[in-house]
């Protein structure tokens, strides 16, 4: 029945082959693997479609029918528009469709437009005498003119501005797209403009005085007019004075990533994206335009996460780790990576995303007030499109492999390395000595002929990822819908049955009332993600295992704990892999927006949003996976949720005054965010088989946490564009936050922006006609920040955890919960942004240069305290002022554009410079050894590395006074120690370069991402895995160590780390312990990475037509395919982290069908 209804929308006639249902069945046969069956439009898409038709005095409908029959093109028109048309006589022979239609409609008051495979028939703008109009519309008074502005589909464009050229007059269309202008000169020219459309000039005719006329607007081809989603609305690049970058679905869907954040990497100026691991579903850190907040050390700075908004609703979990509660159990996966964990944004299917807008400056974000201080990322999901119901199916699958796999020493190399270390330390082993077998089991006890390649076993594998996505969309002019379902499976590439499985369902509905005054949008996203992994504490350390390690599993597959008296529990990675961890997350995002137009230009609306993410986590340590010496079975069950309710009433007003267009937005926000987490841990299970249940536990402990945040604000925005040249944009907000104490809850923020499109000036146009667009814009404004935990302004006590603190003397113990500071308030950020936009050759080449300067003062942060204060920190404002200033350049260009061949390029580059402007009392603060006024806060302090002493063979460092030592002092140089600033780890610049070349149906995209930076080098990774020479395997490339006096080596002498009474070995171990804090552990970590390669081929229609497929696309997408870097080994994107799950190279091949 549904299908029938779709075939016959009430007020329109859709012509098609007679047998709609038959065709449907045919498609169903072809797509039996799909759950969704759809109505079929037997159509094929060929530009060279020709028509042969002969008819004498036939009605137009018959002509349309025939053309439809031959070409498969649909016709779309209003019944009443055809009522007044005459019959036509035609003789066509292999005439191209376009020409055929022109001929057929030559004498008719009709226009046509071909869009895709649909022909839209509309009334001509000035029909000679359409009587039906006067019968349905009120008769206009003779003094005014009446017009209607529509798009090429006949949809009214409400809110379009209509100006009278050369006069200071103008108006705005109402919801039906109608407008009225009085006292218009006979030959007046109207200039009609609408966001995203080419503005149109319309010359008023005599007849327009009595008849209603139509202006059909066409979509602009210029990228400047593409609609950008901005705060509470849309804008275009042409008129925006704020800094907003948009990545669209076109770029997102070429990338085989499961997390949309990874698809943004290198594509947006000023946006720094850092993956934390190659683990499927792992966290991705995001920072916009540098660090705004100070931390106790550069590496422990709070990550300035932007605000994430999905379809107008703040995403409940934001970008916080989903498994924070069970984090400790997951140490192994990401233990040495800060801010790691599982990403909540993995629960949004990138295939359901239409666009991602990154709002960066005050003009773009001030309206979000306190929430926008770190920038805003607005994710907009796909919406239904009016027209024939269509089904798109994408299926792809392909392998993942480590990007830069580490090679470790084999057994002979390893044993030689160990023997060298022994010799260096002056040790001689006695195999009969129990101590020696305890300290050197690899040399004394283990079989020296065994070889086990742990690096390959754990991380050298190839895993698979599979993605299926089906989307059904369509609708009429007044109601559109989209439903899409996706399934994604990413398998871990280490041993075990581990994978991330995701199922998503996306729906979107739009309804517009007949008079277009009431508009309703509803969107809902649901996803279920099941990430099944191991809670192993240190799987990544498997690479370090001695390659002659005995079998860790016995022939029956049971873990071995003891080999000839040597306890293997420190090495038993295979047993630890069998300790399960699973994270299930259920994500629901609902948004509803109801808007009603009260009068021309004035509408009220309400946005209601609800975002909920539930997590269920489970981890267990079965007895069978533990050293029997310490075996104690535990299972932890955790339930958490993040919830946000968001209500936003708004009033919009838009009016054209002559050449000026004024738009006003006033709104309010009420937001309530809660999160909670409850964890129950059972221990002492009698049998591992009971581990899935809490009932089997001998003892149970539980703890819970919850957090609440309420936020209310009123905001307004005023925009004024005069003569399409001069732009003013003002916004303001007053916010209240529950995070602050009484009297400090409210703060006010605002911004002002100006823009001048000087290419619209006649003089400029004359002088530089090749520049098609030129705009200079700037804005200045403030943001606040309330980014601290609630309740910190009062002292609290909490009940102690029963597990760690059982009853004392029959009494439940309490503990103080926090230090309190009653007087903290909003942090304030002042941001200045200046941009120059240039377009050349009719906007084929677009250039944007943006400079910005952000200053964050009144820093609101957890101020570090020494332990003697009782707590590690207290929430406090302090008057340090931090500046981030930067330059961003982006260029897009269509280099070649011919009928069959097209080559386009995009390039962007950004650099941020951070500087501490002021910090009263720095010298006596905990930050004294970390920061220097006038220097970047990313300037890391440590020891200045000198090199390896060629006589003793151990590392040497410069002292604060310029001397040389192997045992530097941790005091600052200014206090007589050796700590001094060594290296600035802020990237110098980063960006991306993309090229897309298409020839006919073939399209190739190459996207390179690059970063020029200094960071931890491979040696840092090596030394954090253990001092070389100890019982830790080493990367095979690591050969350049000191062997004998006189050697000039990169690495110091090997040492076993067991120095007994040997002072040389001890000195080497000691010297090595400073290395990770020295400049020797930093190096160039710049890289250029072929982030994405996408090759696709669209099959010629002639093949597909026969089987009823509208279009079919075969593609190969690859991520992280090639890396060009001087980084010796390890991945430069994960600086200095060698022993972890490496980033993955993903190649997928797939098919996409449209039905």
């Amino acid at each position: 029945m549904q299908i029938k209804a779709l075939c016959n929308p009430p007020s329109y006639v859709l012509l098609r082959r007679k047998d709609c249902l038959t065709k449907t069945l045919l498609v169903m046969k072809l797509t039996i693997f799909l759950l969704l069956a759809v109505m079929l439009q037997a159509s094929a898409r060929t530009n060279a479609q020709t028509v042969t038709y002969t008819g004498k005095s036939v009605p137009l409908t018959a002509v349309f029918s025939a053309i439809k029959e031959q070409t498969g093109y649909l016709f779309f028109y209003r019944k009443e528009d055809l009522a007044g048309t005459g019959r036509v006589t035609l003789q066509l022979r292999n005439v191209p469709l376009q020409a055929a239609l022109e001929q057929a409609l030559a004498d008719q008051p009709l226009n046509f437009a071909i869009q895709g495979n649909t022909v839209f028939i509309t009334l001509k703008p000035s029909p000679p005498s359409p009587p039906q109009l006067t019968s349905t519309e009120s008769i206009p008074p003779p003094s005014g003119i009446h017009g209607r502005v529509m798009d090429s589909l006949g949809n009214p464009l409400g809110g379009a501005s209509v100006a009278v050229k050369g006069k200071k007059r103008g108006t705005t269309t109402d919801a039906r797209g109608d407008f009225e202008l009085k006292d218009i000169d006979e030959n007046a020219v109207l200039v009609i403009s609408y966001t995203g459309y080419t503005s149109k000039e319309y010359k008023v005719k005599n007849s327009d005085n009595t008849n209603k006329f139509f202006v059909i607007m066409s979509r602009s081809n210029s990228p400047l007019d593409e609609v950008q989603v901005v705060a509470y609305g849309t804008n275009t690049r042409r008129f925006n004075v704020g800094s907003v970058s948009t990545v669209t679905s076109e770029d997102i869907q070429k990338q085989p990533v499961t997390n949309v954040l990874l698809a943004l990497q290198g594509r947006v100026t000023g946006l720094d994206i850092t993956p934390t691991s190659g683990t499927p579903g792992s966290s991705v850190q995001v920072q916009i335009r540098g660090q705004n907040t100070l931390g106790s050390t550069p590496s422990s700075s709070p990550f300035d996460q932007p605000l994430f908004i999905v379809d107008g609703v703040p995403f409940a979990p934001q970008n916080n780790s989903l498994n924070a509660a069970l984090m400790n159990n997951l140490g192994g996966l990401n233990s040495n990576v800060p801010n790691s964990g599982f990403s909540p944004l993995n629960s949004i299917n990138p295939a359901d995303i239409e666009s991602v807008s990154v709002l960066k400056d005050a003009d773009a974000t001030s309206i979000y007030g306190s929430q926008g201080a770190n920038g805003v990322i607005v994710i907009t999901t796909k919406k239904g499109k009016a027209g024939a119901t269509s089904l798109n199916v994408r299926v792809n699958t392909g392998p993942n492999k480590a990007t830069r796999q580490l090679q470790m020493l084999n057994t002979p190399q390893y044993l030689q390395m160990r023997r060298d270390a022994l010799q260096n330390d002056g040790l001689v082993l006695d195999p009969t000595n129990a101590d020696d077998s305890m300290y050197f089991p690899d040399l004394v006890v283990f079989d020296s002929t065994r070889y086990h390649n742990f690096a390959r076993q754990f991380f050298g594998g190839t895993s698979n990822s599979t993605d299926v996505h089906a989307s059904l969309s369509g609708g009429s002019q007044s109601t559109t819908f989209i439903v899409s379902a996706g399934y994604t499976k990413s398998v871990y590439d280490f041993p075990g049955n581990f994978a991330d499985n995701r199922q998503t369902l996306h729906t979107g509905l739009h309804h517009s009332s007949m008079d277009h005054r009431l508009n309703i949008d509803f969107g809902s996203d649901f996803s279920y993600d099941h990430n099944n992994t191991s809670s192993a504490p240190s799987v990544a350390q498997a690479m370090l295992l001695a390659p002659n390690m005995p079998d860790l599993l016995d022939p029956e597959g049971k873990p071995v704990w003891n080999y000839k008296g040597i306890n293997l529990s420190g090495y038993q990675m295979l047993a630890y892999l069998k300790q399960p961890f699973s994270l299930q997350s259920y994500n629901l995002n609902n948004s509803l927006r109801i808007a009603y137009q009260l009068a021309t230009g004035l509408s009220i609306s309400a946005g209601l949003g609800y975002s909920l993410l539930n997590t269920k986590q489970y981890s267990a340590s079965p007895i069978s996976t533990q050293d029997p010496n310490n075996a104690y079975s535990t299972a932890t069950f955790d339930r958490g949720d993040f919830q946000t309710i968001n209500i936003e009433p708004q009033v919009d007003y838009k009016r054209t005054f002559g050449k000026g267009v004024l738009s006003v937005l006033v709104g309010g926000t009420y937001k309530k965010s809660t999160s909670s987490d409850m964890q129950v841990m059972g221990s002492g299970y009698t049998d591992d088989a009971f581990l899935g249940s809490i009932e089997g536990a001998a003892s149970i402990t539980a703890n819970d946490n919850s957090s609440i945040y309420k936020y209310a604000g009123v905001y307004g925005r005023l925009g004024y564009i005069y003569d399409r040249k001069y732009i003013v944009s003002l916004s303001g907000r007053r916010d209240g936050s529950s995070n602050f104490g009484p009297g400090r809850q409210f703060g006010s923020f605002g911004s002002a922006g100006l823009g001048w499109i000087f290419s619209e000036e006649k003089a400029f146009r004359k002088a530089l006609p090749s520049i098609s667009y030129a705009k200079i814009s700037g804005n200045y404004g403030t943001n606040g920040s309330d980014g601290v935990a609630p309740y910190q302004f009062q002292p609290f006590w909490r009940i102690s955890n029963m597990y760690s603190y059982p009853l004392f003397d029959g009494t439940r113990p309490y503990q103080p919960a926090n230090l309190y500071n009653p007087s903290y308030g909003w942090a304030s950020k002042h941001a200045l942004n200046v941009a120059l936009d240039l377009g050349f050759l009719h906007d084929r080449l677009l250039l944007n240069i943006t400079g910005y300067r952000n200053r964050t003062g009144n820093q609101l942060t957890s101020y570090t305290l020494p332990s003697q204060a009782g707590f590690p920190s207290v929430v406090q404002n302090f008057s340090a002022k931090l500046q981030d200033a930067g330059l961003e350049v982006s260029i897009t260009s269509v280099n070649v554009k011919t009928k069959n061949f097209r080559w386009s390029t995009s390039f962007n580059i950004s650099g941020n410079r951070n500087k501490l402007l002021a910090f009263p009392g720095l010298a006596t603060s905990p930050y004294a050894s970390t920061y220097t006024i006038g220097k970047p806060i990313t300037l890391t302090s440590g020891f200045r590395y000198k090199g390896v002493n060629d006589t003793t063979g151990i590392f040497e460092y410069y002292t604060g006074k310029g001397g040389v030592t192997s045992t530097p002092s941790y005091q600052q140089a200014s206090k007589g120690g050796d700590i001094q600033p060594i290296v600035d780890v802020q990237p110098k610049y980063f960006g991306g370069l993309g090229n897309t070349i298409s020839y006919k149906g073939l399209s190739l995209t190459l996207f390179f991402q690059f970063s020029k930076q200094i960071g931890h080098n491979y040696l840092f990774g090596v030394y954090s895995g253990g001092t070389p020479g100890g019982m830790n395997n080493l990367p095979v490339e690591l050969t350049d160590y000191w062997k004998k006096p006189g050697d000039k080596a990169t690495l110091q002498r090997l040492t076993t780390g067991y120095y007994g009474q040997n002072t040389l070995g001890r000195a080497a171990t000691r010297a090595a312990s400073y290395f990770g804090s020295s400049s020797g552990s930093y190096g160039d970590a710049s890289y250029i990475r072929l982030k994405n390669l996408s090759l696709s081929y669209t099959l010629p229609d002639s093949y597909l037509k026969k089987v009823g497929i509208k279009s079919c696309n075969i593609y190969v997408n690859a991520q992280n395919l090639l890396t060009f870097t001087g980084y010796k080994f390890g991945d430069p994107e994960m600086k200095g982290i060698l022993y972890t799950i490496p980033l993955q190279r993903t190649v997928t091949g797939g098919l996409s069908f449209d039905f």
Binding site: D435, M438, G565, A599, I604, N629, A631, P649, V651, V666, G668, S683, N705, S706, I708, Y709, K710, A712, V714, G736, S738, Q745, F746, P790, Q794, F796, W797, R798, I799, S800, Y803, Y805, P806, L807, F808, D809, T811, R812, P813, Y814, P816, A817, L819, T864, L865, P866, S867, Q868, A869, G870, F871, V874, A923, T924, P926, Y970, Q971, K975, T1063, R1066
Partner: protein, 468 residues
């Protein structure tokens, strides 16, 4: 226009309503569900008892993570001194007296001590102003808290030397306190103990000896005076405890550390859910036998050093009862076996021994010997020796008696709350003893642990100990 204006008015009214009720919109509950305001804690007698219970709970956290007072002092001083050995790399820096300033264990000990002291101070301040409990109870609690604070500072000053003396909860003051002189630290310890002695009664406030009474304060005072070489005061305090008649030496060595031991002066109940005491969990490996020799798969992680084993005189029953042999294949290891339960048993059979009578006899003996009251000294010394199955000491001269006492302290108090390490330091024997035990590794500056690096960074008034 009028039409629009009316609507505009309605809209304006709507927003002004929103603005007026803004304060209401951002109201949240007065406290998080699992927390209560500090003011409420000290306005309710049950809450006050819970706050104080937290102070005790802090001292023994869990056997997994030894807290400052229980467990970690025993292991770490045992390793830096001449008691414990280890093959584990995580203990290596302690074993070889090469602790670095960024060592996590050192950082953890320091941090735990001060966060516990914060709670003690918060309770002292809160209780002083409380009106919901009786004056005698306030006094009792103050006395208990002062004993505990004295114990913390006693350990801090012995591990690190002078430390910041935090006595309040105002972080603006506490965060920038410099290290006080050792003498000032002892002045605070003594005044806390004097206050405790005046506040506490001979009766224990709890059924078992979990919370200090007067004699606990006196026993700790005896120890403090001994360390300060105030022999008469030390002798007086120890004498008070011994003569109180409340305590007697357990004649069976295997009963000394049991729950309800008659020798215990202060015993914190161990009721962890998995392991019993931190010592038991760390010293005893998994074993299939219940009586020594303990048969195990793997070597114990903290076996005893040979020099300690050699210190026991022939026939010393402490060597058979408080030391156990662990057999791994053909290799034997010796472990401290004062606490014999590795995993928790219910009801609890072993508790954490904080202070016991055996030590008081030795304190008294030493204080008397220092005052040249040698025969009285020997009488007290022989009490301890007799219990270990040894004959009376045959030392004659003052120096012989003193070294006999020191030797007895080594074998009686080994692996117990840092006693041996502190003894080596306070008697000045450390360089001699450890220079022999750890040739090439020992250096005199290692007698003081380093101030954790992070603390010096966060409070730049802290000055590092020499040679770190």
């Amino acid at each position: 226009m009028l039409y629009i204006n009316k609507k505009m008015l309605a809209i304006l009214a709507f927003f002004s309503l929103l603005a007026v009720s803004c304060k209401k919109l951002i109201e949240i509950p007065p406290n998080p569900p699992n927390q209560i305001p500090a003011s409420q804690v000290f306005a309710d007698s049950a809450d006050i008892m819970s706050a104080v219970a937290g102070v005790y709970a802090n001292m023994k956290v869990s056997a997994y993570n030894p807290s400052f007072v229980s467990g970690s002092i025993t292991f770490n001083t045992g390793l830096t001194g001449d008691e414990l050995n280890s093959s584990s790399t995580s203990y290596r820096n302690f074993l070889q007296n090469a602790i670095t300033v960024d060592d996590g264990t050192i950082q953890g000990m320091w941090k735990n001590a001060y966060s516990d002291i914060y709670q003690i101070n918060a309770c002292l301040e809160g209780i002083a102003g409380a009106t919901v409990i009786s004056v005698p109870l306030k006094q009792q609690l103050r006395g208990e808290l002062k004993v505990i604070r004295a114990l913390y500072y006693f350990n801090l000053v012995n591990l690190w030397g002078g430390v910041p003396l935090v006595t309040g909860i105002d972080y603006t003051i506490n965060a920038s306190l410099p290290r006080a002189a050792v003498d000032s630290a002892y002045a605070l310890i003594k005044s806390d103990l004097a206050d405790a002695r005046s506040a506490l009664s001979p009766n224990y406030p709890s059924l078992i000896k979990a919370r200090p009474n007067l004699y606990t304060a006196e026993a700790l005072s005896a120890k403090v005076y001994l360390y300060r070489q105030q022999w008469d005061s030390a002798a007086y305090m120890a004498g008070q405890v011994i003569q109180s008649g409340k305590y007697s030496l357990e004649q069976d060595l295997n009963s000394v550390f049991l729950h309800g031991s008659s020798e215990a002066i202060w015993q914190l109940p161990a009721n962890s859910t998995s392991y019993q005491t931190a010592e038991g969990a760390s010293f005893i490996p998994y074993t299939s036998s219940t009586v020594p020799p303990l048969i195990s798969y793997t070597a114990p992680s903290l076996p005893l050093l040979n020099s300690l084993l050699g210190a026991f005189e022939p026939g010393d029953q402490r060597k058979s009862d408080w030391v156990a042999i662990v057999k791994v294949n053909a290799t034997n290891y010796n472990i401290a076996y004062k606490y014999k339960n590795r995993t928790a048993v219910a009801p609890t059979t072993e508790d954490y021994m904080m202070l016991r009578l055996g030590e008081q006899y030795l304190i008294l003996a030493e204080a008397l010997a220092q005052q040249n009251q040698l025969s009285d000294a020997l009488t007290n010394l022989d009490q301890v020796r007799a219990r270990a199955g040894l004959t009376g000491s045959n030392a004659v001269s003052q120096s012989d008696v003193l070294s006999a006492i020191m030797h007895e302290r080594q074998t009686e108090l080994f692996c117990e709350a840092g006693n041996r390490w502190y003894d080596l330091k306070r008697t000045g024997a450390i360089d001699n003893v450890l220079g022999t035990e750890k040739p090439g590794l020992w250096k005199p500056s290692a007698a003081l642990y380093p101030i954790p690096l992070q603390e010096i960074i966060n409070n730049n008034l802290l000055i590092q100990n020499p040679e770190y």
